[in-house]
Subunit: 162 residues, 4 copies
Amino acid sequence: MKTILLITTGGTLDKVYFDALSEYQVGNAVAPEILQRMNVNFCYEHKEICRKDSLEITDQDRALIKQAIDGCEHDHVLVTHGTDTMVQTAQFLGEQPEKTIVFTGAMQPAAFANTDAIFNIGTAIGALNSAPKGVYVAMSGQVFLASKVYKNYETKRFEDNE
Amino acid sequence: MKTILLITTGGTLDKVYFDALSEYQVGNAVAPEILQRMNVNFCYEHKEICRKDSLEITDQDRALIKQAIDGCEHDHVLVTHGTDTMVQTAQFLGEQPEKTIVFTGAMQPAAFANTDAIFNIGTAIGALNSAPKGVYVAMSGQVFLASKVYKNYETKRFEDNE
Amino acid sequence: MKTILLITTGGTLDKVYFDALSEYQVGNAVAPEILQRMNVNFCYEHKEICRKDSLEITDQDRALIKQAIDGCEHDHVLVTHGTDTMVQTAQFLGEQPEKTIVFTGAMQPAAFANTDAIFNIGTAIGALNSAPKGVYVAMSGQVFLASKVYKNYETKRFEDNE
Amino acid sequence: MKTILLITTGGTLDKVYFDALSEYQVGNAVAPEILQRMNVNFCYEHKEICRKDSLEITDQDRALIKQAIDGCEHDHVLVTHGTDTMVQTAQFLGEQPEKTIVFTGAMQPAAFANTDAIFNIGTAIGALNSAPKGVYVAMSGQVFLASKVYKNYETKRFEDNE
């Protein structure tokens, strides 16, 4: 895997804290900085679609993600996305017989000491390297087909929907 | 992937600092604690082979690792190992047509704030989920066949040996 | 300094992220866990007054803080508090000729990798050990008399109000 | 406190890991970067005396530290130093009736996620702000007179020697 397309949309992964507002907002995409810090030996092209909580992601945003994927020359695409509608967006892409596309995100912001962001991005990169063409969700230490996964709010894990 | 065998051998990944000795030593294996903290939804059986710098790993240790793998009922095996002889140990296992076996480790100890340990274990888990049967090294954001990788000390990355 | 009273009220210091709510809330007081992790060699009695953003702290809460201080046998009191009204609460205590009382908090939650929480609590502990009786605010690497400090929202620092 | 002299000498505080050597060495002084990250509102002049494990600090090094302090115009001096001979170096300075001088260091390197470095530097800064003229050691959440402290290797704390 020499190069990937990195699509970022926001989500908990990218949330930072603004003291002046005493609130939490989606900030810069953290995935590029994480890949650099981890000294990975592949290149990535970064395309930012939006900076949204995934509950605010619209089908218009999803169309933009699909366009970016359909239009790119990359065989491998990593999409960072909020967890609440990650599965919905992954399924929106439909069959993708020509590319390996992996979605990931985080339950705790990357800015946190105990975030799952770095681990999840790692899992997604491992799947990108190894999985057949298709659309996947890499969360909770699993790599799911987009059609066979849901977020379980009780266990705070992504699980097989069968 | 419902369950894996986790084999730990030590390496930089597990190094901690002993103030009383003013030195650095291989401590408890960190992988189990990381998998728990990341709230993964698969089970693992943990087998500790040794706690060594990989330069001190012997063929006797390698035979024990091979035994543990040959003897287990798991289809998926994660091996944490120091980076200097990781490739050598991975190749020692030979062909493994019936299991997916992934080696990983770290350039910086898991105890460090800027460690690559969590990312690398994530990459290995992504590969375990997705890769065909065989023996792999998951480092530097890549998943390599054990026969086609080396550690490049200049770039501080694992790279394709072709 | 053998023992202190630790009064906690909430604030950014204690903010954690709730994925299920996609929001940020004041959680358990982090100061006790930090003092334990830092292996300090003094004892503390912990009294939780409330778990509030400091904009929500009322004079009733302030009266409870004052009561707790007036009623205690400790000569040294550490108060953790949100930054927006920290000075107001510190001044509410009036003259305190018999105790050393130090307020601190954080601009970034303790849960963040790059928090100022641990440093600020350290500064407050240093002041508690060394300052004469009175009421102080320990922020931005400074120890201010409660009567001579304000939060500068532009520089994101506490500064001398003279 | 508008400005301080920051003297750095190395110690566990500054230890980093060199993968190529599979060993741990004293690296760049971390205190300046920590003070910047904590956004303190005082200035500091940084003077690096050496980069040594404190067991290797000689009386010649100590003489250089004393010279730097005697020669400076600052009223406040922070010295970062390894813990094993920190007390010895602090006592080497003798009486210092005209300046407040505080020594600190760490039991775990600043590079570690669970380091005590940031907390200890905070404690030292709090003491610098508040303590009378003299020479102090700020460790374990305490501010000791240099003449009344020792490192207890069993409790892993600095304690009163009386």
